[in-house]
C-alpha cells in the first residue's frame, strides 16, 4: 500500500452532500478549499448550485459539531455582501475571520460582474471564489457568458450552439491589478490547495477561479469529473496559472499536447461538433495559450 503524504490536514469540514448531482465537482472544491482554509471562515453564497449543495436538506459544512457560518446573498451581490460583512467584522474587532464569497459563473461573470469589479477595485479584503460550470446549472443548464464556443445548453439547443467565445474573467480580474488571481481545478488537488494557501496568506481582493465540470449539464459520465478536469488543463482549454498584482503571470502546468477532441468527445454538449468547429476552437485555444505564454514571459 502506498502511503500518501500531504502537508495538508486530514480534517474534513464537510459531510457527504446529499443534494449534489452525482459526479459534481463542487463538493470536491469545497472540501479542498476548507482543508486549507480551516474553520475561521464565513461563506457568502449567492444563488447557484453551491448553496443548495451545502444547505439542503441540512447544513453540511461543520467543524467538530459546529456549523461553519454561511450567509445567503442576493444573486448579483456576493462580492458586496462579503465586503460589507468583512468591514463589519473589522469594526467589531475581528480581523482574523476570512470572508469568502463563493459564487458560480452566473453570479460572477454575468449578473454580479459590476459588484465583483467594484469590490476588486476597492480591494476589499475578501477571497472571491468563482466556481465555473459554464452555464446556469442550478436552473437547469442555460447559457451564460462562461459557456464555451459551440457548446449547447437548454437555451442554446442543437442545432444552434453558442456562437461566441467564453468571457475571459481572468483577464478582467487581472485588469483590476488585484493582489492575487489564480485558476484551479479539482484534478490537481495539490496545486489547488497550494493556491488556496497562497490566497489565505495574502490580504486584499483575492480571486480564485475554479473550473467545476458538471456531468449533468455537460453530459459526461459522472465518474469522469476528474478526468474532464484534467483534460481541460492538458488541452489548454483551461490553463492553470496565477496572476500577481495583475501583471505577473505564472503558468503552473505546461501543456502535454493532448488533442482537443479528447476533451470534447466525452461531453454530450459537444456531440454535434463538426471538424471545422473543432478546428476553430483549437485555433482560438492556441492563440490564447500563446498570449498567456507571452504574458508569463514578462519580467520586471
Amino acid at each position: 500500500m502506498i502511503e500518501v503524504r500531504s502537508k495538508y490536514p486530514r480534517t474534513e469540514y464537510m459531510e457527504a452532500p446529499r443534494s449534489a448531482c452525482s459526479g459534481c465537482a463542487l463538493p470536491l472544491a469545497f472540501r479542498y478549499f476548507l482543508k486549507v482554509m480551516g474553520e475561521k471562515v464565513v461563506f457568502i453564497l449567492p444563488p447557484g448550485c453551491s448553496p443548495v449543495i451545502v444547505n439542503v436538506p441540512r447544513r453540511i459544512l461543520r467543524h467538530e459539531g459546529q456549523l461553519i457560518r454561511i450567509l445567503l446573498a442576493l444573486f448579483g451581490s456576493a462580492a458586496t455582501f462579503a465586503g460589507g460583512f468583512k468591514t463589519g467584522l473589522i469594526e467589531r474587532g475581528d480581523t482574523e475571520t476570512e470572508v469568502v464569497a463563493w459564487a458560480g459563473d452566473g453570479a460572477t461573470l454575468d449578473i454580479g460582474l459590476g459588484p465583483v469589479s467594484a469590490a476588486a477595485e476597492r480591494n476589499e479584503d475578501i477571497i472571491f471564489v468563482c466556481c465555473d460550470n459554464e452555464a446556469y446549472m442550478n436552473t437547469g443548464n442555460q447559457r451564460s457568458s462562461a459557456t464555451p464556443l459551440w457548446a449547447t445548453t437548454t437555451t442554446n439547443p442543437p442545432p444552434i450552439p453558442k456562437g461566441q467565445w467564453k468571457k475571459d474573467i481572468m483577464a478582467i480580474m487581472a485588469g483590476h491589478g488585484i493582489p492575487y488571481a489564480a485558476t484551479l481545478t479539482v484534478a490537481y488537488p495539490e496545486d489547488f490547495m497550494k493556491k488556496v494557501e497562497t490566497a489565505k496568506n495574502m490580504r486584499g481582493f483575492r480571486f480564485l477561479y475554479i473550473l467545476t465540470p458538471c456531468p449533468t449539464g455537460w453530459r459526461f459520465h459522472s465518474e469522469e469529473t476528474v478526468k474532464v478536469s484534467r483534460l481541460s488543463v492538458e488541452t489548454n482549454v483551461f490553463p492553470l496559472f496565477e496572476v500577481m498584482n495583475g501583471i505577473h503571470f505564472v503558468i503552473n502546468k505546461e501543456p502535454v499536447g493532448t488533442p482537443l477532441e479528447r476533451y470534447t468527445a466525452i461531453q454530450g454538449r459537444y456531440a454535434h461538433l463538426t471538424s471545422q468547429q473543432i478546428g476553430e476552437i483549437q485555433e482560438k485555444v492556441e492563440q490564447r495559450w500563446k498570449w498567456l505564454k507571452w504574458l508569463a514571459n514578462y519580467k520586471k
Binding site: G76, S77, T80, F85, T87, G88, G114, P115, A118, E121
Partner: protein, 412 residues
C-alpha cells in the same frame, strides 16, 4: 447648538450623531449632499466608522446588509431610481430583520424624468416590510434619524426616513443640533443578535419568543418562510407602540417629539385634512386661516406610514364628518396611496366611523402644493358631496384633449 442647515445636512448630521460603524451611499440628485457630508466627516475624523464608496445603490444596500449581518450599526441614503435599484435588497433586509436606517429623499421615478419631489418612490416600497417615516421640517429629519435607530434596533426592523426632495433636501432651516452625550444616552451602541461563528449561538434577545427561528439570511428551508412572515407581521403590529415609546423618551431628553400621527386643531373639527411631508407646514397655515374665518377644520399629519398607524387614525377621526387626503403620489389605475390606506382604515371595522374620504392628488413631480390649493381642497370637501371619482386632481393638469386647465376642480 442652533445651525442653519439643509435637510440633507440634517440627515447627515443625524446619522453622524448616531455613530454608525459603516456608512455606504451612492450619490443621486437630490440626495448627493448626504454622502458628501458624511465622507467629509470621515476625512475629518468626525465619523469614527468606515465610509465606503460603492458603485451603485444595489451595492450600497448590499454592503450595509453585509455589515449589519456582522452586527454593526449602518447607514445609507438614496432617492428615487436608487431606491428602486435597491428593491430586492429592501425585501432582503426586512426578511432578515436587519436594523438598517436608510434616508430616502423623495423624488419620482422616470419616465418622464423629474428631479424634484414626489412620494411615489418610497410609497411604492410599502410592501417590503420597512418602517417608513415622513418628515415635515429639517429639524424633524435630524431627530427622526436618531429615533429611527432607536426603533429599528429595539425591534430589529429596517427603517426608512423620508424627506421631500428639494422642498426639504435643499432648503435651509434653523436646526437645533443635539449634544453628542445626550444622543449617546438616548441611543446606546447596537446590541447584536449575531454571535460568531454559528447562528445557533445567537442571542435570543431580539426574537419574539425564545423558540422562534431566527428568520435571518442563512435560513434556507422554504417551510420557514411563512413563519418568518408571521413574525414580521407580529412585530410590525407592535411597532407603533415602540415608536410612541421611543418618541416619549426622546421628548423627555430633547424637549421635542414627533408622534406617529399628529392632530392639529382637530378638537371640534368637522373636516380633517390628512397628508404627510413638507406640505404639512403649509397646511397648518391654511388651517389657522380657515379657523380664523370660522370654519371647523383640522389637520392630521401622517408621520408614520409603515406600519400603518390605523388605530391612532381611527381614534383621531372618530366623529368627524369628512376627511380630505392630499396624496403626493398616485398608484396609476387605482388612486392616491395614502387615500387607499385611510379609506381602508376607516371602513374595515365593525364600528363606525364610516367617514366619507375625499382623495386629492397634488404636487406630483415637484408641482407646488400651495396654500391656495390646500384651501381649495378643504373647502371642496366641506361643501361638495363626495365625488364619484377616486382621484380629484388638485393643481395643474393637462388632460388628454383638454386645454391647459389650472384648476381641475371647481368649487361652487
Amino acid at each position: 447648538m442652533i445651525k442653519v442647515i439643509t435637510g440633507n445636512e440634517a440627515a447627515a448630521l443625524g446619522a453622524l450623531l448616531c455613530r454608525p460603524n459603516v456608512v455606504c451611499a451612492y450619490p443621486i440628485t437630490p440626495q448627493t449632499e448626504i454622502p458628501e457630508r458624511l465622507s467629509e466627516a470621515s476625512g475629518k475624523g468626525l465619523l469614527k466608522g468606515k465610509f465606503v464608496n460603492v458603485e451603485s445603490e444595489m451595492s450600497a444596500i448590499g454592503y450595509i446588509i453585509g455589515a449589519a449581518e456582522a452586527g454593526v450599526r449602518v447607514f445609507t441614503a438614496t432617492s428615487s431610481q436608487g431606491l428602486a435599484w435597491m428593491h430586492e435588497g429592501l425585501h432582503f433586509a426586512a426578511g432578515g430583520r436587519l436594523p438598517i436606517v436608510l434616508v430616502n429623499v423623495n423624488r419620482p421615478l422616470a419616465l418622464p424624468w423629474n428631479l424634484t419631489c414626489d412620494h411615489s418612490d418610497s410609497l411604492s416600497q410599502r410592501d417590503t416590510g420597512w418602517i417608513q417615516f415622513y418628515c415635515e421640517s429639517c429639524q424633524e429629519v435630524l431627530d427622526t434619524v436618531i429615533q429611527a435607530y432607536k426603533v429599528a434596533e429595539s425591534i430589529s426592523l429596517p427603517c426608512m426616513v423620508c424627506l421631500d426632495g428639494v422642498y426639504l433636501s435643499y432648503v435651509s432651516e434653523s436646526v437645533d443640533i443635539p449634544d453628542q452625550e445626550k444622543v449617546d444616552q438616548y441611543l446606546p451602541p447596537r446590541q447584536t443578535i449575531l454571535e460568531m461563528p454559528c447562528p445557533e449561538e445567537r442571542d435570543n434577545r431580539f426574537r419574539l419568543f425564545k423558540k422562534d427561528p431566527p428568520g435571518l439570511a442563512d435560513d434556507y428551508e422554504q417551510s420557514d418562510f411563512m413563519t418568518n412572515r408571521y413574525q414580521l407581521q407580529k412585530i410590525e403590529s407592535q411597532c407603533v407602540g415602540t415608536v410612541i415609546e421611543a418618541n416619549k423618551e426622546f421628548e423627555t431628553l430633547f424637549g421635542r417629539g414627533y408622534p406617529p400621527i399628529e392632530e392639529y386643531r382637530c378638537e371640534d373639527a368637522e373636516v380633517v385634512l390628512i397628508l404627510s411631508g413638507s406640505a404639512v407646514g403649509t397646511s397648518r397655515y391654511v388651517i389657522n386661516m380657515l379657523r380664523d374665518e370660522g370654519y371647523k377644520v383640522g389637520l392630521v399629519k401622517l408621520k408614520m406610514f409603515r406600519p400603518f398607524p390605523k388605530d391612532l387614525l381611527r381614534r383621531a377621526l372618530l366623529g368627524k364628518k369628512k376627511v380630505a387626503v392630499i396624496d403626493r403620489d398616485i398608484s396609476p389605475g387605482q388612486c392616491g396611496i395614502i387615500y387607499q390606506e385611510i379609506k381602508w382604515a376607516l371602513n374595515t371595522q365593525a364600528q363606525p366611523p364610516w367617514v366619507p374620504v375625499y382623495g386629492f392628488v397634488s404636487g406630483l413631480g415637484g408641482a407646488d402644493i400651495t396654500a391656495k390649493l390646500i384651501r381649495r381642497a378643504i373647502l371642496f370637501t366641506l361643501m361638495e358631496d363626495p365625488p364619484q371619482e377616486e382621484v380629484i386632481w388638485l393643481g395643474p393638469v393637462k388632460a388628454v384633449g383638454d386645454d391647459y386647465d389650472r384648476s381641475a376642480i371647481k368649487i361652487s
